[in-house]
Symmetry: C2
Subunit: 464 residues, 2 copies
């Protein structure tokens, strides 16, 4: 019986709920799923001590993924990242992370008070971080032999994939572990139409947002681990970072998502792949806009063709303006916009009609833009000079708040993120250089949303 069927059976029963939730499973005639909403009650297992239906669900997920173990997540990939880093390190350990990691990786390092060493993947002309090279990993491991853990993102938000097989080999030969943030790669590896999954290529842990590119509900995700990982330590850490009242609506959607892959995945991924191929073909004639394709020839190891990255770097509009035009003129809501591109997320749930509607909009809009060469010359993403651990700087008691114009040469006590790509331009403990200030100016001028967590505006930054 699926989890959803089990919840429906409970709903049809005459059992009187004298437990949480307080809505008592009473439907109100509306659309919210009150009648199926429970947390861990008798017969429905315990997320942090799985022996029943959640164990079955986890085992099914692990088997489908070809992983040793799987852990369902209800606080997004975020809690999987926090828990993995917590489980795989001790305070003060050295870790190597790709600088284009999601903020949750930085937060995980801050929590654990880690000594963070960065790898900077190359960046394309469009401002897209390309693959982390195996060579850069080897170099970093040689420079920081104490590193216990390497963390990279693959696929990235833009669908760029790194050479996990070579990277995991290098990491393992140095006795370290490889954690892959594959939040955007939940759908790959189930069909030959898409690249292989990180765990199948040797990653010790892969964390995947089932809600992003598969079919489960928002906030649901899965942590997959290989045999080199102590599952008990992961359990321990997830118990810290996840609610003790998990939603069975989310679990039911995970269960259903796994069922879809298991029973209908082959057909769905093939159709999806055909739809994507048709989309790329139909947009090949764009004159000004360009659908990016990350390959070996332009600095990528591989890519996920499901992520549509629409570049406007040679045109007279920005990615932000393109996203707005798609919204206003064509009623198409993109996932994200950057100074010179727009990201569209697609999935097996996109019909052929969805793809042709997007293609049609792009072909139509392409006529109205002007190609002006490459005016958006952009400064290089600045490399940080860290002088303190993230934790020590973020915890610092003696700081002052300064506008960026007066912060040059000072040490940041805060993060500054640009959305997108949601990667820090500054992390706590780094010297704010002239290059960084220039890059911030460029981002601001381009229309990026600059965020300092906890502040209403990003006009000033705390420094020490």
């Amino acid at each position: 019986m699926s989890l959803l069927e089990k919840l429906e059976k409970l709903r049809e029963s005459d059992t009187l709920p004298m437990h949480m939730p307080g809505h008592k499973r009473r439907d109100d005639g509306g659309v919210l799923p009150y009648s199926l909403d429970i947390t861990e009650i008798d017969g429905f297992d315990d997320l942090h001590h799985r022996t029943g239906i959640l164990k079955e669900l986890s085992d099914k997920a692990a088997k489908l993924r070809g992983a040793s173990s799987a852990f369902p997540l209800v606080n997004g990939s975020t809690c999987g990242i926090l828990a993995s880093v917590y489980a795989l390190t001790k305070r003060g350990d050295t870790v190597i992370i790709a600088r284009n990691c999601h903020k949750s990786v930085y937060h995980a390092c801050e929590i654990r008070n880690l000594n963070v060493k960065y790898i900077y993947p190359p960046m394309s002309d469009d401002g897209v971080f390309l693959s982390v090279t195996p060579e850069s990993i080897v170099t970093a491991l040689e420079e920081y032999p104490a590193a216990k853990l390497v963390i990279i993102t693959s696929p990235t938000y833009e669908g760029v994939i790194s050479d996990i097989k070579s990277i995991s080999n290098s990491v393992h030969s140095h006795g370290a572990k490889l954690l892959v943030d594959a939040a955007h790669g939940a759908h790959i590896g189930y069909s030959e139409c898409f690249p292989q999954s990180a765990v199948s290529l040797g990653a010790d842990i892969s964390i995947e947002s089932l809600h992003k590119t598969l079919t489960s509900l928002t906030q649901s995700a899965m942590l997959y681990a290989n045999s080199g990982i102590d599952a008990e330590k992961i359990e321990y850490a997830l118990d810290i970072f996840e609610t003790s009242s998990p939603s069975y609506i989310l679990f039911a959607s995970i269960d259903k998502c796994l069922d879809i892959i298991e029973k209908d995945g082959a057909r769905l991924f093939e159709e999806y792949s055909e739809n994507l191929d048709a989309f790329y073909k139909s947009t090949a004639g764009l004159k000004h806009l360009e659908i990016l394709n990350f390959t070996n020839e332009n600095g990528a190891f591989d890519s996920d063709k499901g992520k549509l990255v629409i570049s406007c770097k040679n045109t007279d509009i920005t990615g932000f303006a393109l996203a707005e035009k798609l919204r206003e003129n064509y009623h198409i809501e993109a996932e994200a916009a950057a100074p010179s591109y727009v990201i569209c997320i697609t999935s097996v749930c996109d019909t052929a009609e969805n793809f042709s509607r997007l293609a049609g909009a792009l072909i139509d809009f392409d006529k109205s833009v002007n190609n002006i060469g490459n005016p958006n010359s952009r400064p290089v993403y600045p490399q940080a000079k860290c002088v303190y651990f993230i934790t020590a700087a973020a915890d610092s008691k003696e700081t002052e708040s300064l506008p960026f114009s007066r912060a040059r040469g000072r040490i940041s006590a805060e993060y500054l993120w640009a959305y997108p790509p949601g990667i820090p331009i500054i992390a706590p403990g780094e010297i704010i250089t002239a290059k960084i200030i220039d890059y911030i100016k460029f981002c601001r001028k381009s229309g990026c949303n600059l965020i300092i967590p906890g502040r209403e505006t990003a006009d000033e930054i705390s420094v020490k």
Copy 2:
């Protein structure tokens, strides 16, 4: 327009979602709310940078609660606890916590590497922790003048309420902050039929599970803060512990829950109160079982009458057996069972019929049990002797795993919880004394579910 109406309007629009979630809001004819499930897209605000509909929702919550600010939570009260402790302390700070705090408080202290000092509330004959006394808080603050933060649970799982007004006065006069874990008290303070809320009585922060005793969906909660709290620090910390893809299904249920309180709360809480009074009256004649009532006369400051605690301490059955009988014979699912009592959670969604069904079941079952005085004499909850910070002990590299019989005198590197009440019998860094081992034996014999996080069984424990 309510958030739900806004989501429904989006559903009816012709907007093509080229963003996550991957299910693309396609309903499948089933009951899961795919068609309304989004995360932060244009026009729907940003949880970690609220300026639109989530800001309105938060302001409405704060106003209803009489708090300075409110922060909606989608990872349960757990993330509110983790974030508050993170925001209000620096590494190494001293905190005073009531020993009957939820595991998330211990985890928060572990993450922040805090110096944890305990207050032990008195325990009733039934094994229920009673109110934290203002005197014990004063004593602790005098003993540990460096303490920055005091954390207590009120109401407790069993509905016991502490004297927040006196406690907050003492805490503030020592220059510290008071955090109240009111996960079980989301419903109090909105009507004269129930006690006042923690924030209205001076708590600096109160964290409340809206899903537990109000009407929103599982995992949703709210953090309320008073004016002494730097909201930016809370924002910063919540950004760490909460998913970056929050569920708008959960937000919509929070919005609806607040609407219900605002528009219909007075009537609903009055009816609920009348139903409760009728329940207590109808069960007053129980001969063997007893509905507990925590008052000034038996060591409590006050209590939440909405939490029904059914004691069987004078009978020949345990709380575990009683819960099973309620389930099997009467199809009533209780919230939790302890050696000598059962907890039932009630809410405004419980009808008069629900209450009379429960009362009828108890009256009927009461006839079949035997009153054998007070056979369940229980050992006193053992006080811990801490020799290391939780963090240092949990992080310890040199440990061995031993059965409890051989662990006496050693220092624990792990937690041991008994469910219920979900309060640690042992935390990392504490000496495992003979009294503790006796207490564990008692719990095991009574049928408690003993859990060491990350372990399949609680037969052995890591010690150093």
